[in-house]
């Protein structure tokens, strides 16, 4: 087993364990958000192993930096009591949810086919230069739509979180 494979399985184990920690942690929402950071960073490591270098950097900056900090900020702003979500109610619903997840996973695994080995990558694959060229030539309309979407999201979030709309 090569060093890349060892790193991949290590990152994969980190990602799965911390994702489970996020979902199963009913006591502490802050700890759940920090588990989410571990998942994001482990996924960024896997992206590097898959030759997606720029996406890995953006993953760490946007997910590990901005999005989770936003989550933590809201959790701490609302100052939720830790016993507000005691388990016990709607046990049937929980069981059904877990069964649904397992069934979905089983279906995906059953319908998956054996993939061929990955070919060698062309030079510059996944770097900022090639990705930038792709973004600003073939996908320039997508970039413009994304900027419009972000503007709309900022305005919408401001309106929603405002105390009183005059």
């Amino acid at each position: 087993m090569s060093a890349q494979q060892v790193l991949f399985y290590l990152f994969a184990a980190f990602a799965v364990v911390s994702a489970l920690g996020m979902v199963l942690n009913v006591r502490n929402t802050v700890a759940a958000a920090l588990s989410l950071v571990v998942t994001m960073v482990a996924l960024a490591g896997i992206y590097v192993l898959l030759e997606a270098h720029l996406v890995a950097a953006i993953q760490v900056m946007v997910y590990g930096g901005a999005i989770v900090v936003l989550f933590l900020f809201v959790v701490m702003l609302l100052n939720l009591r830790s016993d507000a979500f005691a388990p016990g109610r709607a046990r049937l619903q929980k069981l059904a949810g877990a069964l649904l997840g397992i069934a979905l996973l089983a279906q995906i695994v059953r319908s998956s086919v054996a993939l061929p080995a990955a070919p060698p990558v062309p030079p510059g694959f996944g770097g900022y230069r090639q990705l930038g060229i792709a973004l600003y030539t073939d996908y320039v309309l997508l970039v413009e739509i994304a900027s419009l979407l972000l503007t709309a999201a900022i305005v919408g979030a401001l309106i929603l979180a405002k105390r009183k709309i005059d």
């Binding site: 494979q5 991949f8 979500f85 949810g97 993939l115 990558v121 979030a157």
Partner: protein, 106 residues
């Protein structure tokens, strides 16, 4: 070389965990986090398949990675709006329990 089957399997596992989180948890913030987890699982599948078909030399095929960047953009927008909704819900109901907002539920 990383076996791509296992990358897709990891993506499926993370997506399954995200689904379970969305369906079973009652804390709206954790539900949003689980949605983020599902989006990340899809991103991982995109990156894995892009690694499988990387294009020829001089003609890189980076469609999967471009799509991942767009998913990250949409996720950021979704979190901003979603947390705005959480804050306004907390202001009105003094709770972030999704059982409290079942007015539109059949």
């Amino acid at each position: 070389m990383i076996p791509l089957d296992h990358v897709i399997l990891l993506s499926a596992i993370l997506f399954g965990i995200g689904v379970v989180g969305v369906v079973t948890r009652r804390n709206l913030i954790v539900v949003l986090m689980s949605i983020e987890l599902m989006l990340n699982a899809v991103n991982l599948a995109f990156i894995g398949f892009n690694r499988l078909w990387p294009g020829q030399p001089g003609q890189n095929a980076l469609d999967g990675q471009v799509f991942v960047l767009m998913v990250i953009t949409v996720a950021a927008a979704e979190v901003a709006v979603g947390l705005g909704i959480v804050i306004s819900m907390f202001r009105n109901r003094d709770s972030v329990d999704i059982e409290e907002v079942s007015l539109l539920k059949w």
